[in-house]
Symmetry: C2
Subunit: 316 residues, 2 copies
DNA sequence: GCGCTAGCTGCTCATATGAGCAGCCTTGAT
DNA sequence: ATCAAGGCTGCTCATATGAGCAGCTAGCGC
């Protein structure tokens, strides 16, 4: 025949063979015998059926999680874990709840008793902790000082204590603010025994959970808590994202800031040494910050929602 | 872990691996290296992904033809060819046109110059012939006498002559009515040289095209053209279907009738000897006749529409 | 008719794959 | 603490599979 176009008989034959192969799991040799063709012919027909789009293979949703999008996200950004929750972008609180539950599931699944968990402070992390089931005796390390929030609940200290308590693991926590007015105070605080002990644990942390902030009003708890001077100064330095006080520019490169000197919390090098940092970003507005975070190489896991995930995959 | 339920990380890992395997065609060994797993683990994950419904494989439409339904029909009834046209069941004429085009495509695709084509008379066959492109010099044999239709166009003779003319093949045709008043006349007619010559070609016919009638008013051209006596008599004998004058009961078994003695056309044995008889049934009302036809083993190809195909697949 | 090209077919051989099996670890009960 | 059960893991070996190749056939221009 002409060869270019496939006729209906050919199409149906391909469909018939493809159906038995893919849906009933018959081997090509078997089908060759059955149809009186060589196994090569059968293989070619199956290939053609796939290439021509006659057979469509799709990875479907699995409950709330869009596994296909998750897999693509993980693949694209070389992530160890990616979870995309298929939830509409309602208000931030509901989003945090959904992502928090998913992150809790993820953590519950991957954490073993040999892990050491680091927890930074972020509202999404608090949401995760609320949904978290007891872990198998995992020690928990506090990564950042406490940030004064209007409601005053669920500080970094509470979060660490709760998780460790429920898990029966050691809690490495300290009482200190996230930022202080001058570098000297910060240095002094870092030498406090309990702070120093917690920080000594950092190299042993195997997994950590953090939020991602965008250096804009209302997009980062740290931004909102900072002085107008610091806000401007960091913007001037090109700060785009903050991951629990670790500042990055839009390309994900670390930015040295004077503010970091006045911070009681994990720094860039210490975070880089953690095998897997799981971030829980939400809200399409924060896309530039998330982009920076994944480019930085600091992030090994991402728990987010459909809209943001699609935005991340679209560009570049 | 618990083992029963699969967590999100597991689900995403399965999706990720299944995606690369099915969509990008990577081998399991390759994926095992890439993910740092054993190839067995990869195989198990892929199996689980398929079994759990995470990967969905479907055979999709291909233009007008529902290849999946076609394949299922062919599989179920052991047909060499089955074409299901996805067209709504409008009026009979439009249905005939659609099926005629599909049948013409099928014939054009499968017929070679070594084939000998037999054509019975049916309105669907006429529709097919109108859509038929020239065949590669295929000889054409007339299978049935001419039936007087109101419009008088496209008799069995015309159909055969047209196809053979366009194809450049020999035309084995004869001028004789389909039915005559008595058996003696029929015998005499069959001995006419041109009739006999055409019938002598029957054993060499490799593919034939026919319609399927249901022995009910308005469901069979032959029924409508018969005397009231014959109508009743054949019904009494349990006739359900007629394939160009070959009568079958509801189970597809041949029914000997006196009417057959008065018919100038192919008989049951001769039809059974044809390697592939392609029928073009339409209209859900004729389902019982089509069922009988496929059960008879006479039919090797079926060109029909969605509603009828689904009806056939549903029962039993 | 003669050669030419192009597409189709089925072969070989290295590689991938699946079924079944035995060791090991986890888990839970006594 | 000890033991039993179950599940998970990675091995072996027979079989299935894919890439590339050479022969065959059909169609085509001269």
């Amino acid at each position: 025949m002409t060869g270019g176009l496939i006729g209906p008989a050919q199409a149906v034959l391909m469909a018939s063979i493809a159906r038995r192969h893919y849906l009933h799991g018959r081997s090509k040799v078997e089908l060759a015998r059955e149809f009186g063709l060589s196994r090569f012919k059968v293989a070619r027909l199956i290939d053609e059926a796939r290439d021509s789009g006659l057979v469509r293979i799709e990875i479907s949703h699995h409950g709330e999680i869009d596994v296909d999008l998750s897999a693509r996200l993980a693949e694209r950004f070389q992530l160890v874990h990616a979870i995309v929750v298929d939830t509409p972008e309602d208000d931030a609180a509901s989003l945090r709840d959904h992502l928090g539950r998913a992150a809790a599931q993820l953590l519950g699944e991957v954490i073993t008793s040999k892990d050491v968990l680091g927890l930074a402070w972020a509202r999404a992390v608090s949401a995760m902790v609320r949904a978290l089931r007891p872990l198998p005796g995992t020690p928990v390390v506090q990564l950042t000082g406490a940030l004064a929030l209007p409601d005053g609940r669920d500080t970094s200290v509470d979060v660490v204590r709760n998780v460790a308590g429920a898990s029966g693991g050691a809690a490495h926590l300290f009482y200190a603010p996230f930022t202080v007015p001058d570098a000297a105070t910060a240095r002094a605080l870092r030498q406090q025994p309990e702070v120093a002990r917690a920080f000594d644990q950092l190299p042993s942390v195997t997994r950590a959970v953090a939020g991602i902030g965008l250096w804009e009003p209302g997009q980062s708890t740290l931004y909102d808590a900072s002085s107008e001077f610091d806000r401007q100064e960091l913007r001037r330095l090109g700060v785009c994202a903050d991951i629990s006080g670790v500042f990055l520019d839009a390309d994900g490169k670390p930015v040295r800031t004077e503010l970091a000197e006045r911070t009681i919390g994990i720094n860039h090098e210490q975070m880089q040494a953690i095998p897997e940092v799981i971030a829980i970003p939400y809200g399409v507005a924060r896309a530039p910050a998330v982009r920076a975070a994944v480019r930085s190489g600091l992030i090994g896991g991402l728990v987010t929602h459909t809209a943001l995930a699609e935005l991340l995959l679209d560009d570049e």
